[in-house]
Point group: C2
Chain length 456, copies 2
Amino acid sequence: MCHDESRSSASGGGLSTTAVSNGGGRSRGFLRGWQIHNTLFNIKIMILCGFVTILVLLATISIGNFGSSSNADSVKQSFIKEETIPMTILPEIPSDSNSTDLGAAEPPKAEIFTTPNATYTLGPKVTNWDSQRKAWLNQNPEFPSTVNGKARILLLTGSSPSPCDKPIGDYYLLKSVKNKIDYCRLHGIEIVYNMAHLDEELSGYWTKLPMIRILMLSNPEVEWIWWMDSDALFTDILFEIPLSRYEKHNLVIHGYPDLLFNQKSWIALNTGVFLLRNCQWSLDLLDAWAPMGPKGPIRDEAGKVLTAYLKGRPAFEADDQSALIYILLSQKDKWIDKVYVENQYYLHGFWEGLVDKYEEMVEKYHPGLGDERWPFVTHFVGCKPCGSYADYAVDRCFKSMERAFNFADNQVLKLYGFSHRGLLSTKVKRIRNETVSPLESVDRFDIRRMHVETKP
Amino acid sequence: MCHDESRSSASGGGLSTTAVSNGGGRSRGFLRGWQIHNTLFNIKIMILCGFVTILVLLATISIGNFGSSSNADSVKQSFIKEETIPMTILPEIPSDSNSTDLGAAEPPKAEIFTTPNATYTLGPKVTNWDSQRKAWLNQNPEFPSTVNGKARILLLTGSSPSPCDKPIGDYYLLKSVKNKIDYCRLHGIEIVYNMAHLDEELSGYWTKLPMIRILMLSNPEVEWIWWMDSDALFTDILFEIPLSRYEKHNLVIHGYPDLLFNQKSWIALNTGVFLLRNCQWSLDLLDAWAPMGPKGPIRDEAGKVLTAYLKGRPAFEADDQSALIYILLSQKDKWIDKVYVENQYYLHGFWEGLVDKYEEMVEKYHPGLGDERWPFVTHFVGCKPCGSYADYAVDRCFKSMERAFNFADNQVLKLYGFSHRGLLSTKVKRIRNETVSPLESVDRFDIRRMHVETKP
């Protein structure tokens, strides 16, 4: 239930040919004739090679835009260079972001998005959810909202209904869900993998909103809905969300208070990973959050409002992250006291600063820390593994995801006595000899036991 | 624990250039000079274009060889036509099966595979597992082997460490695991998704054996390991394994006693889906099962033994299914009493006879039956979604998998009030209006509640 206590805290390279040197011309007539012919010939070669270059280009594109670039790239890249605030919370920019339009925004039109009856809604207004849910829980003791004293969490993730633009993208979506299956099995968390667009209007990064709402209303036994992007991996398999810390809060999200309150930065929070309590407050937040989402004019107009209101935001259609920050700041009194801005561990950890340090982490530290020493989550913001473009070099992104996956997988395989041959290797090796009394290893290496043991 | 009671039942097209017509040559000297030059020039163009053609070729290959075929196809296809026994239990044939070698087999050499000390082993022989496990369970009450009165089941599935040969294959692996996540969440079953080759020797369809053994030894709280191929989908989300039926058995597998005992058919059982109890008997079975698996000479020789021993088996290397049938028949007294050959519902249901009847099933029947009226599992035997070849037309296989996935997904989406627009559509539609009292829908449509209600 909600807490209402008094306020507390490669493009293909074009091939060219060079004119061959004059073989030997004694007569101007013949020389001219040969030169004309040679020029015609060069033109033919140019056309021929241009054609073949296009073939190579097409083949390359169909593999998945290796090294391809979109408007957004330049925006993002330049944005990255300009950016002075932590990279750990860099958000996504869609491909239709307009790089020529930076900062060119109209004055805020906050009111058009804060009058619910004038705007899009997620569904019929549910008003007494806390009492409905409480009554249901009392009537259905076989579905308790806590299991072994821990609040029931449902992890929601998902991907597009269609195959990825980059074929290799589906392979990494598969690895990403395997990684989540492992973490959630070891910590008793249920998973819902969504591949449906429940609301045509809320496409792209807005899809999560209707799905979260429906999961709350159809899973009253769940206390927390945990949204996690498909491009985010658990890299600390031992770390567990410190739920007791959030007893007085309904939204837990990674971010930085200074960026949020003082700088009004559009990357003060990251909506790629967050926990939302199953309660009326959250339903109300979703109702306030969604109206900027409908694609087309509404989302475009809202984008201008957000760009004008938030620091550093390029001009592009409204995204769920900017919209949430906008709502939390423009309606601060209404929401902020129930929001826990978490940065004591990496509920969301930006990949670029982390993936190259895994070996160092293994040397110096151990899983269970969750922060920069051993990041709980490594989030591949800007890599868009399933999209047709990325803000970073595709091969670098996939290599880094491979490293993150294997870094995490090693923590899972340890129980079985195996480890990857390297962070870029799909092959595994034995790390200890089998014995005829295997339960000794279970007692030593089972992550669930460790968790049980580390409990007060 | 085991039961030991007395016996009870596109290649890139090569580009070429043609010599241009002589622009005008009055002098033989110049003509010859120009011809020589022109010839040299053509050679340069040929080399250049050849080089670029290779580039195109490489790019095309790296996309993934669609429609590639192997010997096995012809074997399997002819085999299918000849086959008179139920298609519901058709097994896989690997790509290196030798079609020229049908029936040409040596006399059985059973003994070389039944003397453990003379053969390959899965690891150190664990002899007192039942007592070790029992002691551990007593010492670790926080990890009970039953949950809410139901024996704890761990579903094991997985896929190759590398991306699929067919790019679309990874997309269907993703859908397949989403389908398993849904079923297992709704029935309180844990999932392990394996992508590692724990034993280089036991590659291909043999990979499951070392993984099953390791899961038993590292998860003593699990009573049943449930193996399920990645090309098998749950198509009855409501049906639940009738565990009470198997109290006196350690292996539950789909098959037909007549085919097994009277016909010694190589497709009497299907090892794509089976349950194995976590006990000493199962470890012993795995030890007896594995020796035919090591790739190379051993697997090839074993293949000849199996082909000679089993009815209808084409000549190809030893596969796990034939090996299991061989062991159960050749060492009948040792094993068979603890094997439950299940065919009262589709623990494994061969896709070809089922996928075209889904609409009819929806009209006439309801989920929860699990048999031909509403198949529990639809198994895409011979489709090899991730392999480079298939025994059936690739597009037919993927269309059928799409239908099976959506047929199952509709049963999951019903709780949320949605359904696919058609069995081939990734798009969804509302099937009922939302209300302000959503818990009425939960009480009506939550599969877990139905299960609770249908309990005695």
